[in-house]
Amino acid sequence: MQNRPPKSWRDAVEHEINIPDQPILATDKVRYVGEALAVIVAESRYLAEDAAELIEVDLEPLPAVATVDMALATDAPKVHDDLKSNVVARLRIRKGDAAGILASGVRSIRHRFTNHRYLAMPIECRGVVSQYDSRSDSLTIWSSTQVVHWVRREVAVRLGLPESRVRCIAPDVGGGFGVKGHVYPEDVLIPYLARRLGRPVKWIEDRHEHLLNSTHARDDRHDVEVAFDDKGRILAIRDNFVKDSGAYTPVGIGAPSNTIAHLLGPYDIPHLEAAATVVVTNKTPNAPYRGSGRPEGVFVMERLMDLVARELGMDPVELRLRNMIPPERMPYSVGIPYRDGVPVVYDSGDFPAALHEAINALGGLEAIRAEQRAAWAEGRFLGLGVASFVEGTGAGPFEGATVRIDPSGEIFVATGACAQGQGHETIFAQVAADEWGVTPDQVTVSIADTGSIALGYGTIASRSAVNSSSAIRKASAVLRQKVFAIAGHLLECAIEDLELRDGRVSVKGVPTMSISLAEIAQAARPGWDHRRPPGMSGGLEVTEYFEPPTVTWAYATHAALVEIDRITGAPIIRKYVVVHDSGVLINPKLADGQVLGGVCQGIGGGLLEEVIYDQDGQLLTGSLMDYLVPTASDMPPIEVIHRETPSPLNELGVKGLGEGGAIAPPVAIANAVCDALRPAGYEIFATPIRRSEILKAIDKILG
């Protein structure tokens, strides 16, 4: 229910959505390996696992639907018996007339691209702890969730309690990356058990459970046609893709609609037709993970750019520049709706500049090409890979903030965001400190606790810096009026003559006439002998909700210089460059961390990480021996360059940056590998990038 698209989207997009609910425990049918069908509560996990072995389950094997082809076959067994078919959603977005252009006899190519299934893999698995208070019939839940308010609402509804009797807190829970961004069965089951048993109940997911049962991501297949002219202008794109959502679709059509909305990227392409078919299979549910649908679309688009360049004998960098939207055309209206129903308008930035900067950071195009030719002459394989993309960030619908000044003069801020290590406490304290002319250590930040703020949305979709910060600013502005009114009353001067400085309100130009925030908060205190202006209510506390008009548009170019190891086929990334623009940076160091972390995950996704199922729907990668996560020693030198074009869509000028790093690495590396192996005509159409395939291409060159 959190993720139902708004009416304006429903009106603008051809769609058909029949998403089934996920039961808390499987009853008549188990739909994927790992789906829980019984729960055991014991004094220790050891005992619980012993007891689990004693459960005899009488299961009748049903034919498995392990791939999208199996799901779409005419005689396919149904994953959900009450649905008409295994298709749970169809979306179609058009602008212009892609079909007409493609049929008009212009040059075109068509390809099939596959984005494999991989996942977020935070170091910390999930966990839920709950305690019931029978005296007040209320529950406290500590969940490793990114969405405390959603958990509260779901638990309240399912257990028939008013929301005010359910409190959800997400303490320091480790990484999230989206995998903790929705309500899981355990978020409801554990509080239910705590209430039923009258004792605290704890469930901490182990790694095996995590691989089986926490949501997976990516996993789609595109059939794409692209039309272009001899000058390298892309004229039209038609993309039909199928997304394997696994047995359930906990976050609805979020990822495939992102794929569509981001497909055209930073390019001015007049005609588009994009259609998504979301199917259910007997696999672990698929949900957003850092990038959420964007890496898939960007893989398609940026591979196409290189493929078209190859058709025309043009440098892929040049082809991109010919198609990029120039800065003069900002803001640029793309002509399709975003997931929030608002038409996509890139708000600001300079796409070609980011591309130039990335290439220059690798030494410049001419030098790179010269080095590449020299390498080829020595029988070495060196390639340049580029990927440019745009990213809608800071999605609505809202986030709130409560700002309070207590009688000690400390500023207290509460907001609905939930931190997983991004540094929310730091940046929210910075924003509040700027608003109040104090230092960040004078600000106390409370996040991820439904007890601190009534309504919240949570940390997903690169949204917290935009939405929570803006809410803090908005609440501060309202509260400041009251603070100034009291100060004016006490200093006996007009409000217009006041300013905030170093934690004090002073008369402009007369610093000796000032009063501290603590004194104002004491004056504002309700009760006898308060010193507020007549008629003003007591206390210094304001809650405001920021509802963004739509997403802010960040963008980036990633570029990689890759050399292939001739014996192993391994792509060795010699240098990786990110030029990234996410508007005003609140904290450059944390911004670097976000981008770098994302790049690491993207490199893992491109080269190592792969969820594999067999034809019976058995998971073959159920441990970290089989599912390979990149480590520090797999990381190349990475340079991050920030551009800072303020977004006009919020007063702080910030755009989101949590996900961007993870979007482009698979395709940037794939492009570099193909560029290195151009003498073999090698092209990559599917991730992950496989060393064995690369070796075959090398054999072809070396004969």
Binding site: D206, H208, T568, I612, S623
Partner: protein
């Protein structure tokens, strides 16, 4: 991921451990470094009545030279082997290969005896002991027997060890003048089990290869001696072309497994590349791609 219930004993004398093994036989399991056993227990792939923890039996933890034999106690940690000057001097192939075993924290716990007893086909130590033609000493309450590496490894995770026996010592011939060694492997990430690894000893006498020993991990159900390559090399003058032929011969003779990390064809291809690289390095024809 918690183990099924078991009883636990941690004797500090070898004889006690052997008594327990004699009594319990296949109902007991030996715990050395635990780096392979404990994960299997946590997946409940392993069940037994008694866990015999041998970590207190310090008499099994040693490295010493005895004439022409390097003796390594079964409980010696990978890390101690890696750091041992004796090993570096007398068994340089072991010293080079052991650095590829897992990550530092795992090497500080995992033991050579555990690794050989476990006999993972992708593990480095079995291939090295095979390449060096080592001997393993197996002991039970009734006595000890020596088994050559060629007879010890009997396929996927299986060895000549009887349920009442403990591997107590590994004996390796000390390196001789003229013998040169090299080891290389390919793994998907640093520290992973090898997809393919190759260890080689090449004895150069008067410009010819008088003796060649090549063994690989990751290309069969256990460690594999690459006899086809050895035969091609022996008595020949080492050249790049010769090693290329030896590599092709080695690759043609193996029957690797396909799994999710690599298919048989890729393993065969890697084996050829590694045999060539390792052979060239051992013969002093190249420094090879010694990348760390």
């Amino acid at each position: 991921m918690k183990p099924a219930p078991f009883n636990y004993r941690a004797p500090d004398k070898l004889t006690e451990a052997l008594d327990l093994l004699a009594t319990y036989g296949s109902d007991a399991k030996v715990l050395a470094g635990g780096q392979s056993l404990v994960p299997a227990m946590n997946f409940r792939l392993n069940r037994f009545a008694l866990l015999i923890d041998i970590n207190r039996i310090r008499e099994l933890e040693y490295i010493r030279i005895d004439g022409q034999v390097l003796r390594i106690g079964a409980l010696t940690r990978h890390r101690d082997i890696e750091m041992s000057p004796l090993v570096r001097e007398h068994a340089p192939l072991v010293a080079e290969a052991v650095r590829h075993v897992a990550h530092l924290p795992i090497r500080t716990r995992g033991t050579i005896g555990g690794s050989l007893s476990h006999a993972d086909p992708a593990a480095e130590s079995p291939a090295i002991v095979l390449a060096l033609d080592g001997t393993l000493v197996l002991q039970s309450r009734t006595g000890a027997r020596s088994v050559r590496a060629t007879e010890f490894f009997q396929g996927m995770f299986s060895t000549a060890l009887q349920p009442n026996e403990l591997l107590v010592e590994i004996q390796l011939p000390v390196a001789q003048p003229g013998q040169r060694f090299a080891f290389e492997e390919v793994s998907r990430r640093r520290g992973d089990f090898a997809i393919v690894g190759v260890g080689a000893m090449v004895n150069l006498q008067h410009g010819r290869i008088s003796q060649a020993r090549f063994a690989a991990c990751g290309v069969g159900t256990g460690p594999v001696r690459l006899r086809a390559a050895e035969q091609l090399l022996e008595q020949q003058v080492p050249t790049a072309a010769l090693f290329a032929r030896a590599a092709a011969a080695a690759a043609a003779a193996v029957d690797p497994q396909t799994d999710i990390h690599a298919d048989a064809e890729y393993r065969r291809r890697l084996l050829a590349g590694l045999v060539e690289r390792v052979g060239m390095r051992a013969a002093g024809l190249s420094e090879g791609a010694k990348r760390d």
